[in-house]
């Protein structure tokens, strides 16, 4: 009954209220039925408390990457009139994805299905009790693993928002992110990491998400920037970041949280986690210095925006490599990422003329692809079990390239279709007047004084 009432409400507001609420209504209905979780016969016997401690911690760290980390990283870069709308996007995506992940996302990505997509055995987390375990994480409770993976599913769409900052309708953004999660993120995650996934099975190395998270988000961002078009006044009016202190806080929390992202991807508090943390730190620092050095030489001054961007580029590039490379490889990957992403974010965007507002593509797309390729170069058999080009396994580079290509193509096509559908249904972009006034006031009725 209750869900009926909500349902009719939903229809009335179809153009404004996103689909998630329909799903939520469904949830309410199903919840009463689903409350009887199967009892645990021998609960907790399989759990390694140290591994679980680290994965609980990692989950908190990765959540912190998105809120407040990414929210601030992006929020500081926009004009003051859009800062609340920008942080709102990361926050709302966190909420939306959490619920969708619980409903069906986790099941689609991380339960057995076919080579492209998982099954529905964990629809509404059905059957996930105290003693459940996912074979991908055998020493911790499935509840921990599900939540850990949830935080990855949260940050990936949130990264996309940097590409279209300052001009997308909030309702369209919610629809897009919800659909993208299910239509793009879940299958790619399944193909690379899921049980029986095609790309993972073919040997694509992606330790913590260079492909699944960063290329995926970067390419979707580029497509969105192209479909939406440039910001009003872009290229004519100055649009300087209003508060880089916020951006610095964001970059720092991304860095700190990334220990959970990369070292957490060991899914255990083991030796590989330690190594993943060490190489993350080294690559990030090297990338930040690399970006700063090139900026200093080509543009006369080192900037805080530059060094923060470099650090993020390094974090992105080391993500696929973390559990596979040695410290020396990390140093090179970091340096390369900092320098290359400087050029893609600073020059390439100008040449090609798209308006990727906060460089989601220039940093995450390019940095992710670079990292994925260099993983194939610097992988060390003694660390991750797979040798890279430097150890004689030249073929790995091709496998990595395949992973990239599949992701780019699938992602670009589906993202484009989703955007066109939403544009047709409710429109993607705010009016010019709303954009001029600023999204904080026009979309959310709030402002920073």
């Amino acid at each position: 009954m209750r869900s009926d009432a909500r349902h009719s409400m939903k229809v009335a507001h179809m153009k404004k209220i996103p689909a998630v609420f329909a799903l939520l209504a469904l949830a309410v209905a199903s919840a009463s039925a689903a409350a009887q979780t199967p009892a645990a016969p021998n609960p907790g016997a399989f759990i390694n408390s140290g591994d679980n401690a680290w994965m609980l911690t990692s989950t908190a760290l990765v959540l912190m990457m998105t809120i407040p980390g990414l929210a601030l990283f992006y929020g500081g870069m926009v004009r003051k009139k859009n800062v609340l709308a920008t942080v709102m996007q990361s926050f709302a995506i966190t909420c939306l994805v959490s619920v969708l992940w619980m409903i069906v996302g986790y099941s689609l990505a991380f339960t057995p299905g076919n080579a492209f997509i998982g099954g529905l055995s964990r629809f509404f987390l059905d059957g996930m009790g105290l003693d459940s375990v996912n074979a991908l994480a055998p020493t911790i409770p499935e509840s921990t693993y599900m939540t850990f993976q949830m935080t990855f599913a949260i940050i990936t769409p949130a990264l996309i928002t940097g590409a279209f900052a300052d001009r997308m309708k909030f309702s369209a953004m919610l629809w897009f992110m919800g659909l993208w999660l299910l239509a793009v993120y879940a299958p790619i995650a399944h193909m690379v990491w899921g049980p029986g996934g095609w790309l993972g099975g073919d040997g694509v190395l992606d330790y913590a998400g260079g492909t699944v998270v960063h290329i995926n988000a970067g390419v979707a961002g580029l497509v969105t920037a192209l479909v939406l078009g440039k910001r009003v006044g872009y290229g004519r009016e100055p649009m300087p970041p209003h508060n880089l202190v916020l951006t610095m806080i964001g970059a720092s929390l991304l860095w700190v949280g990334w220990f959970g992202f990369n070292a957490g991807s060991a899914v255990a508090a083991n030796d590989r986690a330690g190594m993943a943390m060490a190489v993350t730190q080294i690559a990030t620092a090297a990338a930040a210095l690399g970006w700063m050095a090139v900026e200093w030489m080509t543009r006369r001054k080192p900037t805080i925006l530059g060094i923060c961007s470099g650090a993020v580029a390094g974090l992105v590039a080391i993500t696929p490599a973390a559990g596979f490379v040695a410290p020396s490889g990390a140093l090179v990957i970091g340096l390369a990422a900092g320098m290359v992403c400087f050029f893609t974010a600073v020059y390439m965007k100008e040449w090609l003329g798209y308006d990727d507002s906060l460089d989601a593509f220039g940093v995450h797309g390019i940095g992710g692809a670079l990292g994925a390729l260099l993983t194939g170069v610097f992988a060390v058999k003694a660390i991750g079990g797979t040798a890279g080009v430097l150890e004689g396994n030249v073929g790995q580079l091709l496998i990595q390239a395949k992973g990239i290509a599949v992701t780019v193509i699938y992602d670009a096509v589906v993202t484009f279709i989703l955007l066109k559908l939403i544009d047709f249904a409710i429109g993607l972009r705010v009016s010019e007047e709303q954009e001029r006034e600023g999204l904080d006031v026009s979309l959310h009725g709030e402002q920073v004084l």
Partner: protein, 112 residues
């Protein structure tokens, strides 16, 4: 000499500055202000409370010009700042008795 003060829309500042430079106005002082007028404000909501914010962000520019430039200055501001929508703002002309350049002590027209 006159002091010309104009209230304009914030995003028009650069255009106005350029069109003033074009006619030879070399000094401008700019202030962020809030304007109340015919253009209606917006509503803000914070939990229980709903506020009508009647004051809108505007830019005030002030430029002192010799008498012969007054007309052209007004025109330059007008044409650059106009969008034909309510809220474009106003230009005010004040008598100005004396100007001193602090650095040199130069007076009046020389000081502009």
């Amino acid at each position: 000499m006159k002091m010309i003060m104009a209230i304009i829309r914030p995003f028009k500042l650069d255009e106005v500055r350029e069109s003033l430079s074009a006619i030879g106005v070399t000094g401008i002082t700019v202030t962020e202000v809030k304007g109340f007028g015919r253009q209606k404000g917006h509503t803000e909501m914070y939990r229980g409370a709903e506020y009508v914010v009647e004051f809108l962000p505007k830019i005030k520019i002030e430029t002192a010009v010799p008498d012969e430039l007054v007309e052209r200055t007004i025109e330059a501001i007008e044409s650059a700042a106009k969008t034909d929508k309510v809220g474009d703002g106003k230009i005010f002309v004040f008598p100005l008795e004396q100007v001193v350049r602090i650095r040199t002590g130069e007076l009046d027209a020389d000081a502009l």
